[in-house]
Symmetry: C2
Subunit: 351 residues, 2 copies
DNA sequence: ATCACTTGTGGGAGCGCTCCCACAGTACCT
DNA sequence: AGGTACTGTGGGAGCGCTCCCACAAGTGAT
């Protein structure tokens, strides 16, 4: 009789059916208890729970996924090479935030890199197979086809930084514009006059917003806004170093720098050192992210804190709501689908 | 009629059955084609493949998992806090190696942290639910209960560093003993006389073996083996710093240091700098892992390279073999289940 | 012509769940 | 007394696969 069932089974895991028999109830009732349905009497619930405990029952995920047409898994997709992921604390901080937000859930988190074409290909197959209920998209560039693919496959998705002001996907972001203003206003308040900016990758919307904030803060304070003081970077350390060197060449009189990320600031610091400038005596330096790097830099780096933990939680909340709302004919209100969280300036010795 | 099927379905993914109808064959035949069975005629195979392409058929993972009692997923379990994972390149290098080895497979890789009790709890549930076919265990401490849990659940597992010489699990490791000898012999060859060692966490077997290699290399060369020259570290940067400071205090005459990891060496470098020692003029420094840190250190760090890429591949090979061998009554030969890969000394300016 | 294999194929049964319909029981109105 | 509603429960049907048995057709030895 067990001809089929014995196949590959290890130690005979108990099934719903067995739990039901043990508790003297039907299959449906056990299912309701397992899934926390309120439509179960207290007595029955207790009996089922006892049977579950005695048998050491654990639901079979595959069976559940098949029957319910969901996977209870979501993917965190990083459209960058792995090396970048490990080099930039932004990503690991985000991962931690998301993980924390997910830890009171049944949901499983998958980390997927999509930096190379090869990985992209794999990801596409992965999504086509609907192996996740939803997707978290981190740091997407302006022309990335991923978001479109997702909406075509009707897979719920939340993006960590919107691609533009007209983002159609649900999104969570920190107030890049305001954060940049905080940084620049801080430098102005410290008496700095010639404030440069090393940008992030400009195909990332948030990086553009930081440039806007930088410009507006200067203008509003009646300071000069000189394009020679703005040099594009790419969020990397090397990019920061190169940009700083270029800025020193062009405007050796600068007395402050606002870098679009802490890692960029670290690169800038090297270039400043190489040029014999002291921080903060000669040049004040402010970063963005308030990552571990900022605290450990020498001197410790003033930085704009993004509430990554909260951002992670917000993304999860949005995504889970979207996943749940796959019920027929419910079309959520589109408001509140674009969340912007406030930043905070953390002052340290570098400015 | 579609009352059930329509539930939550998005756009009606085609099923095996539909592909079969389209190709004018039976369900079994399509399944055989999908799974690459050789028992299919070329003509039939071509017809099925055409139907698959036309319909855009993608197998339903959940159904397959349920029917075949496998998940096509394996977990990389890191029994450390996340912060450690990101701080120590060993882990990310390992992840990259494993990922590469897995990329020509259908297998999915899950990254699971089990640093805190909470995470441990989650992991236990996860494994009890048999949500993965096998487990890769990285950097396990001597008294960790995880391996026992795995064998109790009969989940195939491979461990990256054996817990002892009598490891029962399949394991892959680099030649820690030999690598340490290489490092020390190199320093001796450079004319260093008083060679200290900062160890790794001594509840990690590999760290002990490095101490053994260090001692034996010194003894065989007729050098002094002084316990005052050995200071325990914990693979972290801070640990390296503290250990170096302690060593300088005890044996200010030392002229070389072999650190159990590159990160440890980075900490030691700081302490040496703080004490005004020049590298390599006053003190030669050798690390272990040959991670990115070694190349970027100032001065670049001589280090013992572990073939992480190959180690990852070896782990995957062992694990997949073990997973496949879940067939009844096949008990593999136990030889070749403990693999040890050779290390290589990479000389740089620090020594 | 018979037997013994081999090769390719179809399709039934079953994996362990969830969903939902049916129905018994109870409660509270008319 | 009958209706209407709700609560709790059992179990059939079905999710989309894989496994395996059965069997047709072909091959080659006797």
């Amino acid at each position: 009789m067990a001809s089929h069932g014995a196949r590959g089974r290890s130690g005979g895991r108990p099934t719903l059916e067995e739990v039901a028999a043990r508790a003297g109830v039907g299959r449906g009732t056990v299912s309701r208890v397992i899934n926390g349905s309120p439509r179960v009497s207290d007595a029955t619930r207790a009996a089922v729970e006892a049977a579950v405990a005695e048998l050491g029952y654990v639901p079979n995920t595959a069976a559940r996924a098949l029957a319910a047409n969901r996977t209870d898994a979501i993917a965190l997709v990083v459209p960058e090479p792995e090396t970048r992921f490990f080099a930039e604390p932004y990503f690991s901080d985000m991962l931690r935030g998301v993980g924390a937000a997910l830890s009171d859930t049944q949901m499983q988190l998958l980390l997927i890199f999509a930096g190379s074409d090869r990985e992209r290909q794999r990801l596409a197959e992965y999504l086509a197979a609907h192996r996740v209920d939803g997707v978290l998209l981190v740091s997407v560039h302006a022309d990335d086809p991923l978001p479109d693919m997702l909406s075509q496959l009707e897979i719920p998705a939340v993006i960590s930084g919107p691609r533009s002001a007209a983002e159609t996907l649900a999104s969570v972001d920190s107030d890049n514009y305001g954060g940049a203003r905080q940084a620049v206003e801080h430098l102005i308040g410290r008496g700095r006059r010639t404030i440069a900016h090393i940008t992030g990758r400009l195909d990332v919307y948030g990086a553009q917003r930081r440039v806007d904030g930088y410009r507006d803060a200067l203008r509003d304070a009646g300071h000069e806004v000189d394009d020679l003081l703005v040099e594009p970077g790419d969020f990397s350390e090397d990019g920061g170093r190169r940009a700083m060197a270029a800025l020193l060449e062009r405007r050796p009189d600068l007395d402050a720098v606002f870098a679009a990320s802490d890692v960029t600031a670290a690169g800038a610091r090297h270039a400043l050192r190489d040029a014999g400038r002291r921080i903060p005596d000669d040049v004040a330096l402010v970063g963005y992210d308030d990552s571990a790097i900022a605290r450990h830099m020498d001197p410790p780096l003033t930085s704009v804190r993004q509430p990554i933990e909260e951002m992670g939680r917000a993304m999860i909340d949005l995504l889970l709501a979207e996943v749940a709302d796959r019920r027929p004919s419910v079309s959520r209100e589109l408001e509140r689908r674009q969340m912007v969280l406030a930043t905070e300036l953390v002052g340290r010795a570098s400015s």
